[in-house]
Subunit: 225 residues, 2 copies
């Protein structure tokens, strides 16, 4: 027989999927706006953020309410507290999409530094990591969570390469590129910060699943997080 | 008569104060290292971060354990979940101090861009905000929490001014300054991100206190967060 709490925990998963979908959309649109110098789309990302903020507060409130009503133990409690953390990570990722949209508005009227270096590539890596991290939580999938962690070095490398190129090939050679190059450099760092948030999610998922495994089979303890 | 849970909640406050003190120290040292081009001190900040990470995990674990053992309602539950959030914010602030220390190592051997612009001033603002935010939580002090929120515009202004100066007065005039100026620009943004984390803490404190007020006196509901 399904417990009533299971139904509500299922709702929590749906809420996380929903805030996750909105967050993914925000990242996608912020980078599209940058590529196409589309100010309307950038503004749209900024405007929509209040919805995500509101949703985050609702989910947080629901989690506290779930704990208060069901007084869950062990596995369920950990699922809820992990859900609260992931909810907060996703809201921050959406905030970073707003940062990207704001930088985009700053440079939308200036000539584009031709190739946007590897920013679109880094954006794809970031979006995939967000998707995988949410999936790992919903499925309680440690293997997928570890895949998120191992993707982070690719993101770091891309970010370093973008930064090197912007500083050495643009700013240091032609100082007139500095204002635009700085904005792109910030955008690259924003994207890499999104990746960092996804590794927080992945670590929380691993911790959630392993703590449970450990509780029942202490011999299975890996190296934690 | 003091409840046993009150004693443990007192312990939680002490833990938050401890991780807060270590975090403040990390920020202070990372900026001193920058000012004095002290590589040893920068490395010390980086090395000490594992202690803060460990402490954060311990506190998080304690909070979940508290919930599981006492099944607290309303006020106590909200205090614990807020404590979990603040614990996580502080750990991230400490991570940013590591970021600053790493940037410092990058430029410690290069000639200093003379005035470090307003970075030391921004660092002082950031440190004060961290102190106030932790205090606001421990005392449940909404007035202090709101003071943190109002300080954030000063931090934003300083960050913008630093960025403008680095881009326009350095990079755009003398492209050879670009590599160093970029590191300083990143450090200014790191400091401003620390301030953002303190506003998260302040918002959590306001939410914690007001939700409680509202529960008993709904007419007192201010505009929430």
């Amino acid at each position: 027989m399904e417990r009533h709490v299971d139904q509500e925990l299922g709702e929590l998963n749906k809420d996380i999927l929903k805030i996750g979908a909105l967050t993914e959309e925000a990242i996608y649109k912020s980078v599209e706006a940058l590529k196409n110098r589309d100010k309307e789309m950038a503004k749209n990302v900024i405007d929509n953020d209040t919805n995500i903020d509101k949703l985050e507060l609702d989910v947080d409130e629901k989690c506290i309410d779930l704990i208060a009503r069901y007084q869950p133990m062990a596995k369920d409690l950990r699922l809820i507290t992990t859900g609260m953390k992931i909810n907060s990570e996703l809201e921050r990722i959406a905030d970073i999409a707003v940062d990207i949209a704001q930088r985009t508005l700053e440079i939308a009227d200036k000539p584009l530094l031709k190739p946007l270096v590897d920013i679109p590539k880094l954006a794809t890596v970031a979006q995939n990591m967000v998707k995988m991290a949410i999936d790992a939580f919903v499925k309680g999938d440690i293997v997928l969570a570890k895949k998120v962690l191992s993707s982070d070095s690719e993101a770091d490398q891309l970010r370093n390469e973008i930064q090197r190129e912007l500083v050495e090939d643009y700013m240091a050679k032609d100082s007139s590129t500095a204002p635009r190059a700085v904005q792109l450099l910030l955008i690259a760092r924003f994207l890499e910060r999104i990746c960092d948030h996804t590794t927080n999610i992945a670590e929380d998922v691993i911790y959630m699943v392993q703590a449970e495994v450990v509780r029942h089979h202490p011999e299975k303890l890996k190296n934690g997080r």
